[in-house]
């Protein structure tokens, strides 16, 4: 057991860019001593519900490190030159920076927006084949093997979290197969989550931390002792368009 945890930690740290980053995430890792990754051959369960809390107050002006982190991890976006033919409006964006300005006060700030991993996801409700799906642990994915590319989920998603691939791709990354004619969105870095469980850090969060902003907290919303639950209990959090009642997995602070 312990060997196992060790292994995962070693790998995890190895995967992060620098020592500074390692330091800053270290607390999270150690705090979760008890939590552990599920064994690879066990299915995920509804005991966990993975989510993220994003503190927009920490989100720096003009920063887009999280976006580039995601691109690197999952192989999309211009830095990978992944969709050379598509027009800008046609290129996929799993996560984007949205700038807000309050029309009355003029207060402006920014936040990263990606799939909110809704508990009651409209994209899943409408998908004719069941390709859009929510795993037991709350992660919403597209099972591209049965996605027919109808784009109804894109119509239905209130957050424009999804993108359609408009052209043939090559040399995708192993962790994120993606290809023409199917729809995709943030996977909550599911490959990391499955590997590291509660210790996982999605690539965006990792990049944000590496940049020193540390706006993300990833964790198990079902576990009252998790960092994310404790933070939410302490400071609360908002859901974007909470009026829709979708019970989002991604929460924000400071909007």
């Amino acid at each position: 057991m312990s060997e196992h945890v060790d292994t995962s930690r070693r790998r995890f740290i190895g995967g992060t860019a620098g020592a500074a980053a390692g330091m800053s995430i270290a607390p999270g890792v150690f705090l979760n001593q008890v939590a552990q990754a599920k064994p690879a051959d066990q299915p995920v369960t509804s005991e966990n519900r993975w989510g993220m809390l994003i503190d927009t107050n920490k989100c720096g002006d003009g920063c887009d490190a999280c976006v580039r982190g995601c691109m690197e991890e999952n192989g999309w976006g211009d830095i990978n030159d992944s969709e050379p033919h598509s027009a800008p409006e046609q290129k996929a964006q799993w996560i984007r920076i949205v700038e807000l300005r309050d029309t009355r006060t003029g207060y402006a700030h920014q936040l990263p927006l990606m799939c909110q991993h809704c508990k009651h996801p409209p994209c899943v409700d409408v998908c004719p084949t069941g390709a859009s799906m929510k795993r037991a642990d709350g992660i919403v994915l597209v099972d591209k093997h049965i996605c027919i590319g109808c784009r109804y989920c894109m119509m239905a998603c209130p957050y424009k979290a999804r993108s359609f691939i408009h052209e043939d791709l090559q040399d995708q990354l192993v962790v994120a197969p993606r290809g023409k004619g199917t729809v995709e969105s943030c996977t909550l870095c599911v490959h990391r989550v499955d590997r590291d469980g509660a210790d996982a850090v999605p690539a965006c969060a990792e990049a944000c931390a590496a940049e020193g902003h540390d706006a993300f907290v990833f964790g198990d919303l079902n576990d009252p002792n998790s960092e994310i639950s404790r933070q939410l209990a302490l400071h609360g959090g908002t859901e974007i368009r909470a009026d829709l009642g979708l019970d989002l997995g991604v929460r924000y602070r400071g909007i």
Binding site: E89, Q93, E99, P128, G130, G149, C150, Y152, K160
Partner: protein, 413 residues
């Protein structure tokens, strides 16, 4: 003497018929070519993008699907409401309903990101999805109308035709409601989040379906040299007028109720005043060309008698219907999602701005190809099976008009 209407295959064999088949075949071929082009390269060659995910193909497809259920209306009036003059119109009406639906579905399927996975679409069902339900509704519609046509056309099964016709009628109501709900279920989009969407689609189907039916009927009877009575045509065009008026009424009701709810003001302002092309399409395309002018033509004492004018009125209703679909489908997507009420938003993903959409030619070709599929199927079907009545003279088809007795009318049915 009891006058009976006989149905007969189209026997035209001349250049006219095969020329028509040739032209329609070409349209279908071009549509398929466009599809190949789009699927081979990927959707980047279209104007569709991650903001406007449903484009021109969907405008045509949804229009055809909606019109399909409306085309069955003529048969329903005969079978379900027992209106004798409509009975001889029923087989063609059923046929058109099926072919229009097939044309519309073909467009949808050919525009999928992965049309090669059609088998997946047929074997995996998410029963929570209204879309999946629609697939079942569509297949069921084709099946039930096929049975209905069988009952209508097999003399030994005639007695069942009104029962099956009734089911077909119910089914089609559910189907249009289902199609409307595709939009109704999209809660997040300002344009679609309205209960009135479903009844609006039902009236739209009446109107578009009848317009297409009328055109096909007039052309079919004329080109095959079969008489079509004035009184019958007058009934049909008056009915069309009622439906066009109905659509206008529901559109009015829709926008009025929207104006009542504050959260929809933005979208209403966008569509009715400040939406540029969408506003123009709404007022000029949908309201003026698609509703007011045809209404005027249909009810004008002089023009209303002219077959050419009726034909043009139908064409305008169809054109108006397509623009209406455009404003609903494209306009609804172009208007930005409201993520943070009260805030101005912007991003690299075009949040907060009206989305751009400039449709590419292949999209139109695919859409028109769908029409081609529907029409070529009609043209071929009337040649191999007796869908069309040999005559629709008023004296035979519309005995009340001819002043014949009720008994004769009963028999004519």
């Amino acid at each position: 003497m009891k006058k009976t209407i006989h149905f007969r295959e189209v026997t035209n064999n001349g250049t006219g018929y095969w020329g028509l088949i040739g032209i329609l075949g070409l349209i279908v071929a071009i549509g398929l070519g466009a599809t190949y082009y789009m699927e081979h390269h990927g959707h980047y060659v279209t104007g569709m993008n991650n903001q406007i995910v449903w484009g021109i193909p969907h405008v045509f497809a949804v229009f055809l699907i909606v019109a399909a259920s409306g085309a069955l209306n003529v048969a329903s009036i005969g079978s379900v409401f027992g209106k004798a003059p409509y009975k001889p119109l029923a087989p063609l009406s059923g046929l058109l309903a099926v072919t229009l639906l097939i044309g519309g579905l073909a467009i949808l399927v050919l525009d999928l990101g992965r049309p090669d996975r059609l088998i997946v679409a047929m074997t995996y069902y998410n029963f929570k999805s209204i879309f999946a339900w629609n697939i079942i509704l569509y297949n069921g519609f084709i099946a039930i109308v096929a049975v209905y046509l069988w009952m209508l056309m097999d003399p030994s099964k005639k007695q069942y035709s009104s029962t099956v016709g009734f089911f077909a009628f119910l089914w089609r109501l559910i189907l249009t409601t289902g199609t409307g709900s595709i939009f109704g279920f999209i809660v997040a989009r300002q344009a679609y989040d309205a209960a009135i969407m479903a009844p609006l689609f039902v009236v739209m189907s009446f109107s578009f379906g009848l317009a297409i039916y009328l055109l096909v009927l007039m052309a079919g009877m004329k080109w095959t040299g079969r008489p079509l009575g004035d009184a019958l045509l007058r009934r049909l065009k008056n009915l069309l007028g009622v439906f066009v008026g109905g659509v206008l009424y529901f559109v009015l009701a829709y926008h009025l109720t929207n104006l009542y709810a504050t959260e929809h003001h933005g979208y209403e302002h966008f569509l009715l005043l400040g939406g540029g092309i969408y506003t123009q399409l709404f007022w000029i395309g949908q309201i003026l060309i698609g509703s007011l002018i045809p209404l005027a033509m249909l009810y004008h004492p002089g023009l209303g008698r002219s077959r050419t004018a009726i034909g043009w009125a139908c064409a305008l209703v169809i054109l108006g219907g397509l623009t209406q679909m455009y404003t609903i489908i494209i306009g609804g997507q172009a208007y930005p999602l409201v993520l943070f009420p009260g805030m101005e938003v912007s991003s690299s993903f075009y949040d907060g701005v009206v989305a751009e959409y400039s449709p590419a030619l292949p999209e139109f070709l695919l859409g028109i190809g769908g029409f081609g599929i529907a029409l070529i199927a009609v043209a071929l079907a009337v040649k191999v099976l007796p869908f069309m009545p040999q005559t629709l003279e008023d004296a035979v088809a519309d005995p009340h008009h001819g002043g014949a007795t009720d008994a004769a009318a009963g028999k004519a049915a």
